[in-house]
Symmetry: C2
Subunit: 299 residues, 2 copies
């Protein structure tokens, strides 16, 4: 089955202690869509300006991503510039130029309205709500978010939480949202806000699922070299929902494996700038890392 | 088979945001010995003053811990006082009174010299070396350490590393020792210093084994409430070596399960002040948590 993915489609200029890469293909929807495309047909909803490089459109197409919902309008594509510190765990934003994103109103073409799986990748919760208003009878809805929306759009986010099956957020965001210091308790508190499933991401330490079927500790693939972690969280959630959509098994039964596949795609994402490494990955390489993860975590 | 454990035997005064507990039984050897005692006979080597409460001696004995190597001398028992911040991840030392520990020279009674499993729990590396000098044909030697010894006794520690089978240390110590930011690479660098097995502890995020048989990501048991994490690392390594000593399987084959058992004992340790929770644990409760850990990590 297909996955509808809405989020940001951006140009990322990324600086690390070792290199500088201007105007890479980025944004939450781009990372999530490419990650999901390894497992299921993807429909992308987003907006770019008329400066958006044609090669990036071809890259989406190479991954079989349906672009009926991608608006290409006059103006500049959303541009984000950031810099990572030596250990890659801290980053600071150097520049945020919203461009055409400032007036973005996601409108779903008819071909996208009946998507069974929906990923509301990181974007303003008002827009996430607006997309949900247009989807007919979705089977499984996942929302991602970030600290910015907790700070400036909490009311919209709380309204969204009553409408989604799963919320994905990182540990510090979970603490901020619930005022619970312990992640197990924070996840439980989030269930009370709506979502039946909660995933708390912990970066290199993996992620924790809290669900009616019990918790699951999903490992991160141990990497010897992290080139650029931008988009790793988006790749995780994209890979996960893609795997769910591409499988015949019921969501509840399939969720652990889906998280592991998402985790593996995220590990590839970290090994190159922007989408450079992710777009070169094969399904075979993904399967191999999943097997490795099983081998190094089971006892 | 039995385990020889040398380390600190102390009185710990522990303050958390919620409570204050003076003069609890503590020290690296105390935590490790009680943890190991669930799985194998333990011989404790340490020193206490004549102020050491008799009830703590009885507590060791209740766990079947052999005290032939425990020196009781005139003077004050080593006393440590520390305070935890709200999130329990940061602590600061309020007081360190070495007392009789200042002149401690561990002397192994004959009954302890042929111990097949040896745990050099956290203590000055010169003393760890001195204990090794007295052990005859040990089968498996594990050393724990802390940042203090990296700072003030690096030469002794490096000498020790050439003599032990396994080093256990936390992630920041691994980075400090090797100047490698990535823990996978740091563990590899430590192999070059001697130990065939390296475990990097990551607190609530579990631990990583690096070994000739490949890596293993050992999960931490997710706790809803951490009362006092003091001694959790000592409990982990004690439980692990106790499990190895208590089993007929070869170390390499048994190491993953041993780490998981250590991790589970450490989780109980965090649920009470000092050794309060650990000493109440049953083997049955340990097995139950091991089963739970398997259920929430396997995929």
């Amino acid at each position: 089955m297909s996955v509808l993915i809405v989020g940001s489609t951006a140009l990322d200029s990324i600086k690390t202690p070792k290199a500088e890469n201007p105007r890479l293909l980025g944004g939450s929807a781009s990372h999530a869509a490419v990650a999901a495309s390894f497992f299921a047909p993807v429909r992308l909803v987003g907006i770019v300006g008329d400066d958006f490089p044609r090669r990036y459109l071809r890259l989406y197409e190479k991954h079989g991503i349906n672009l009926d919902g991608l608006q290409v309008v006059k103006g500049k594509t959303f541009h984000w510039a950031g810099e990572y510190e030596v250990n890659m765990n801290n980053r600071r934003t150097l520049k945020t130029e919203l461009g055409v994103f400032e007036t973005f109103s996601p409108e779903l073409p008819l071909s996208c309205q009946d998507s069974p799986f929906v990923l509301l990748a990181n974007i303003a919760p008002a827009l996430q709500n607006h997309v949900l208003d247009q989807v007919r009878r979705p089977r499984f809805i996942v929302a991602d978010t970030m600290d910015l929306w907790l700070n400036i759009a909490l009311k919209d986010l709380l309204r969204l939480l009553k409408r989604v099956d799963m919320l994905v957020l990182n540990d510090s965001e979970a603490r901020q949202l619930t005022k619970e210091d312990n992640v197990v308790n924070a996840a439980r508190a989030i269930h009370g806000l709506g979502p039946k499933y909660v995933i708390v991401k912990k970066g290199e330490h993996g992620s924790i699922l809290s669900s009616p079927g019990g918790p699951f500790l999903c490992p991160a693939f141990p990497l010897e070299k992290v080139v650029d972690p931008t988009g790793a969280g988006d790749s995780f959630v994209g890979g996960m929902i893609g795997f769910l959509a591409g499988s015949r098994a019921r969501v509840e039964k399939n969720l652990r494996r889906a998280m592991v596949y998402g985790s593996v795609v995220a590990s590839f994402c970290c090994e190159g700038f922007g989408l450079n490494a992710t777009t070169k990955v094969t399904r075979e390489a993904i399967e191999k890392r999943v097997e490795t993860l099983k081998r190094i975590t089971h006892f």
